[in-house]
């Protein structure tokens, strides 16, 4: 069955490609992905569209046919049967067909949901590059802990290297979305979410803050640039050489509501991201969020990095049973 879908998908992708070739197709960026995740998501979009069309198209045709054929007119020869109100056979058919379609779609969805779980690392030989994302009022702060640089409203990364985004917010919830690389995830205060993406080719991709977060939310757009490894290294070097350092005080300024242009910083205060995540945990941990916490596996089931009394650098597993509501139970 899966094989059949692959074939169907291929046909549909071809159809989509044809659309893309024609002028405005280029702009349909969701249908024109440049990364593995976005491509899988496109596959899924095409599969589900095809499955729906299997039902929709005949029904649309049937609608027009029935409305046309049985319209009232003096010389109508169409059959008129005012008492015909039930047919077990027919009703079984139209309970049955949607059930079958939904079962197939559910199976496909389940498979893809596990496959595309955003917190799951991508299978790739290259070591992922880590980017810590913080949504602020109304700008994006990106920190590169391994390169020790930071940027505002701009990210650059090497192509064909997995990117591990760790996302949080120091403001009302937003949503981090680079349509051509793959789907979005919410940035929420007090939680460190994960999103794994990859760019298959160099390019400049549009990034959006997709979830409304107040006055200048519309200004929360950024550019995500994929380049060669060398260009990326050169860029990091340039940032390190020419930009000011980001200090804790500098961050306090950044966190204040307002919009910002693209900026770069040559270094970041140790543990800043962890402090942002933990500051909403109910207690102020000051600077306790050490380097070690960057190693933590904040899986999907425990997206609240710090809760209640938990020290920020305590080990937390991806399958921790903790849920958002019960801080008290961890006292």
């Amino acid at each position: 069955m899966v094989k059949g879908f692959r074939r169907l998908m291929a046909v549909l992708s071809l159809a989509a490609m044809t659309i893309l070739m024609t002028g405005c197709g280029e702009k349909l960026i969701v249908l024109n992905p440049k990364g593995a995740i976005g491509k899988h998501q496109l596959d899924l979009i095409l599969i589900s569209t095809a499955l729906c069309l299997v039902v929709i198209v005949p029904v649309l045709i049937l609608t027009f046919y029935i409305v046309w054929k049985y319209r009232q007119r003096p010389e109508s020869k169409a059959k008129y049967d005012p008492h015909w109100e039930h047919s077990t056979k027919l009703e079984l058919i139209w309970w049955g067909i949607p059930i079958v379609i939904i079962v197939i779609l559910a199976a496909v969805t389940a498979r893809y949901t596990y496959m595309l779980e955003p917190s799951k690392p991508l299978e790739h030989e290259a070591k992922p590059i880590v980017i810590q994302v913080t949504s602020l009022d109304w700008k994006w702060l990106f920190q590169y802990p391994d390169q020790d640089i930071a940027t505002i409203n701009y990210i650059q990364f090497p192509e064909d290297v997995p990117i591990e985004f760790r996302l949080t917010s120091d403001a009302p919830m937003n949503s981090f979305w680079i349509p051509q690389l793959g789907g979005q995830i919410y940035t929420m205060s007090g939680m460190a979410m994960k999103l794994h993406l990859i760019a298959d080719e160099p390019g400049s991709y549009m990034g959006m803050g997709a979830n409304f977060s107040g006055k200048d939310f519309g200004k929360m757009q950024f550019t995500a640039k994929a380049t060669s490894q060398e260009e990326f290294d050169a860029w990091v070097k340039e940032v390190k050489g020419s930009s000011p350092a980001l200090t804790n005080e500098g961050y306090e300024q950044l966190a204040k509501p307002g919009v910002s242009d693209v900026e770069t910083f040559s270094s970041i205060p140790a543990g800043l991201f962890e402090r942002i995540v933990t500051k909403y945990g109910g207690h102020d941990h000051g600077g306790t969020g050490g380097e070690s916490s960057t190693e933590h596996e904040h899986g999907a089931d425990s997206d609240q990095a710090a809760t209640g009394e938990m020290p920020a650098d305590m080990e937390m597993d991806g399958d921790s049973s903790m849920n958002h509501g019960d801080h008290a139970s961890h006292d």
């Binding site: 349909l28 049937l62 609608t63 893809y112 779980e117 955003p118 979305w177 789907g183 209640g308």
Partner: protein, 655 residues
């Protein structure tokens, strides 16, 4: 002293925007004109006795419809302002703050103060007539429901000129809606406007569940009820279970804002995500609450204008009830991107897809009701026929959105906006328009002009597709919702401009509808009791229905009792014998619902501004009203037989 007053006034009133000054002036002038007209024509007494204090479901229904149409106008103007802003890139027609307010009020008004009251209006206008009842089960409560809705809606709308409108989105996600990020009074208007009208909605739900279960005419078993009645039952049951969640959620938000608690705040262990879960536990069923009655309306209309029995009655009932059940298990599909993990997302994806099955079955049953029928196309049927393909496509995009990993690419984009407008306009609005057109002659006793109705229909429909089809594409281009402006570089302008044109076409469609109504009032054509060749009991009585609806309770042993009766008479059989006239037991009017709801308004307004000197008397007033009502013993009366005879004779002359 003078400066103090000045300061107060500049905080209290919304200032600085010419649009709002214009609105201030027109609101003021309208109010003066209304007061003048009522005084000049000596209509105050008429207003009070016939409308403000009425407990008659037909009049309450009419008031609901009028209020809903006014709100449709306001919500529509909001929509057109947004579309005007988005028509061209880098537009500064509206500031971001103003834009944020407008999309917030547009959403709240369209769902809670337009769709809900229009729906309640149709409940009131139709249900008692359709089940052969004299009124709803609790007429006093019904009036109270209406006035609570009305004053809640007014409280919300007042924020436009006083204090400032809410601007955190129609569901007001915290922490944006918390004191920390929205210190103004807009959010408090939001909370209290919705709370007060929400109590009314809950009571309407209770009222119609009881009415349908207890007040049916002899012979009408549950499985003989008209499909609209079934849909109202399923919708009302859903209200019963869903609205308490809304009330509690907003109460918690209020406690956060007013008493400084931390249910949903950023700091001190508050959990904004909890709010998002709670609000959608109400919010998703809410969508079904408004669309289920629309399904019922289509079922009635499709059978009437195909001159054929509704196909697959039992399937239809089962589908309605299963949709209302499943609607409670899909809420998290509104935030697949919250990262709850694969298992949670799969669960909610599948429950969402499951709802597509009964919905699809309903479409097939409508089609096969038309199959082997004789279909005619007056306006109610036009809207129904237009609904089917529109809803099929909207439903399909809904299924696409339910595929969780794909939703990661659709979420928060214009694809989503296009989807829910397609199901809510194509389903709910088309449905309620169809219902309004269908039952209009029954309610008012005159028919609407068909030619203008067709103009309205076509401009609305063409406008709809021109407006929303481009939005699907914009979503695929990465345009996110609630953006107040965008740059030329994005390449979104052609489609946005197209969409704006479509929006204005729909606005013209609305104007045609207003014109149609005014024209039909001016050149009034009397309607008979049964202008469409109806099938159910409401068409067996004169239009408009007399105060007591049915002089004698009809016997309803079959599914389409009036159609069967007409068929029997046409076949030369005698009509069913009518029982002897007896005095009819009726509820008395009461001013308490109006007064009590005004006190709610006072209390709500006081709480919005944190003025306890105003809020406390408001609540005391509410309590006193309850007390006074508890000691009212003469709440009913009998209409004597000779008066019924006179009314019936007069009505028959009219027919």
């Amino acid at each position: 002293m003078l400066d103090n007053i000045k300061d107060f006034a500049s905080d209290f009133f919304v200032t600085g925007d010419p649009l709002i000054y214009g609105a201030d002036v027109s609101i003021g002038l309208t109010m003066i004109a209304v007061v003048f007209a009522l005084t000049y024509f000596k209509k105050w007494n008429w207003l009070w006795k016939d409308w403000l204090t009425t407990v008659d479901h037909k009049r309450i229904g009419i008031m609901y419809v009028i209020a809903a149409l006014l709100m449709l106008f306001r919500g529509g103007v909001d929509a057109l302002l947004m579309r005007t802003q988005l028509a061209v890139p880098d537009s500064d027609f509206l500031s971001p703050e103003h834009y944020n307010q407008i999309f917030t009020t547009h959403g709240v008004i369209m769902i809670l103060f337009m769709a809900m009251p229009l729906m309640f209006g149709l409940f009131n206008l139709v249900i008692p007539l359709q089940i052969g009842a004299r009124d709803v089960a609790f007429p006093f409560l019904n009036s109270l429901s209406f006035w609570l809705f009305f004053f809640g809606a007014m409280l919300f709308n007042v924020s436009f000129v006083i204090g400032g409108s809410p601007d955190a989105g129609w569901l007001s996600y915290p922490p944006l809606s918390e004191m920390s990020h929205s210190p103004g009074v807009g959010q408090d208007f939001y909370i209290w406007g919705i709370q007060i009208s929400g109590i009314g909605s809950l009571m309407t739900g209770i009222n119609f569940v009881v009415t349908i279960l207890k007040m049916r005419t002899p012979g009408m078993k549950l499985m003989k009820m008209p499909m609209f009645t079934w849909s109202v039952l399923s919708s009302s049951l859903t209200i019963l279970l869903a609205f308490p969640i809304l009330t509690v959620t907003l109460a918690l938000l209020f406690i956060d804002r007013y008493f400084g608690a931390h249910f949903f705040t950023l700091d001190s262990g508050g959990n904004p995500m909890m709010y998002i879960n709670l609000i959608w536990m109400w919010g998703h069923p809410e969508v079904y609450i408004i669309v289920l009655p629309a399904f019922g309306i289509f079922s009635e209309i499709v059978a009437t204008f195909s001159k054929k029995r509704l196909f697959g009655y039992k399937s239809m009932v089962f589908a309605l009830m299963s949709i209302s059940l499943f609607s409670f298990f899909t809420w998290a599909h509104h935030f697949f991107t919250m990262g709850s993990g694969a298992n949670v997302n799969i669960f909610f994806a599948i429950t969402t897809m499951i709802i597509a099955i009964p919905t699809g079955v309903k479409v097939f049953n409508w089609l096969f009701t038309m199959f082997r029928g004789r279909i005619s196309f007056p306006t109610p049927m036009l809207w129904t026929v237009a609904f089917i393909p529109c809803f099929i496509v909207g439903g399909m995009t809904g299924v696409l959105l339910s595929v969780a990993p794909a939703d990661f690419q659709f979420h928060n984009s214009y694809f989503l906006i296009a989807h829910f407008h397609q199901v809510i306009i194509g389903g709910v609005a088309f449905g309620f328009f169809a219902g309004l057109y269908y039952w209009w002659p029954k309610v008012f006793g005159f028919t609407l002009n068909e030619r203008l109705g067709k103009w309205a229909f076509w401009t609305w429909n063409i406008g709809f597709y021109v407006c929303f089809m481009p939005q699907y594409v914009l979503g695929l281009m990465g345009m996110t919702r609630r953006l107040s402006t965008y740059g030329w570089d994005k390449g979104w302008y052609e489609l946005n401009l197209t969409s704006t044109i479509g929006g204005f076409l729909m606005g013209i469609g609305f104007l045609f509808q207003v014109w149609q109504i005014l024209h039909s009032i001016k050149f009034m054509k009397r309607a008979t009791g049964d202008p469409w060749g109806g099938r159910t009991l409401e068409w067996s009585i004169p239009s408009p229905a007399p105060l007591y609806n049915f002089a004698t309770l009809p016997q309803a042993d079959e599914k389409d009792p009036w159609w069967e009766e007409k068929t029997r008479i046409a076949d030369g059989h005698a009509p069913l014998p009518k029982p002897k006239l007896e005095p009819i037991h009726m509820p008395k009017n009461s001013g308490i619902p109006f007064v009590m709801s005004s006190f709610w308004f006072v209390a709500g307004f006081g709480l919005v501004f944190d003025w306890l000197w105003m809020a406390i008397p408001g609540f005391v007033g509410v309590a006193v009203c309850m007390l006074v009502h508890s000691f009212r013993y003469k709440t009913d009366y009998y209409i004597p037989v000779d008066e019924i005879e006179r009314t019936e004779a007069a009505a028959r002359r009219n027919v």
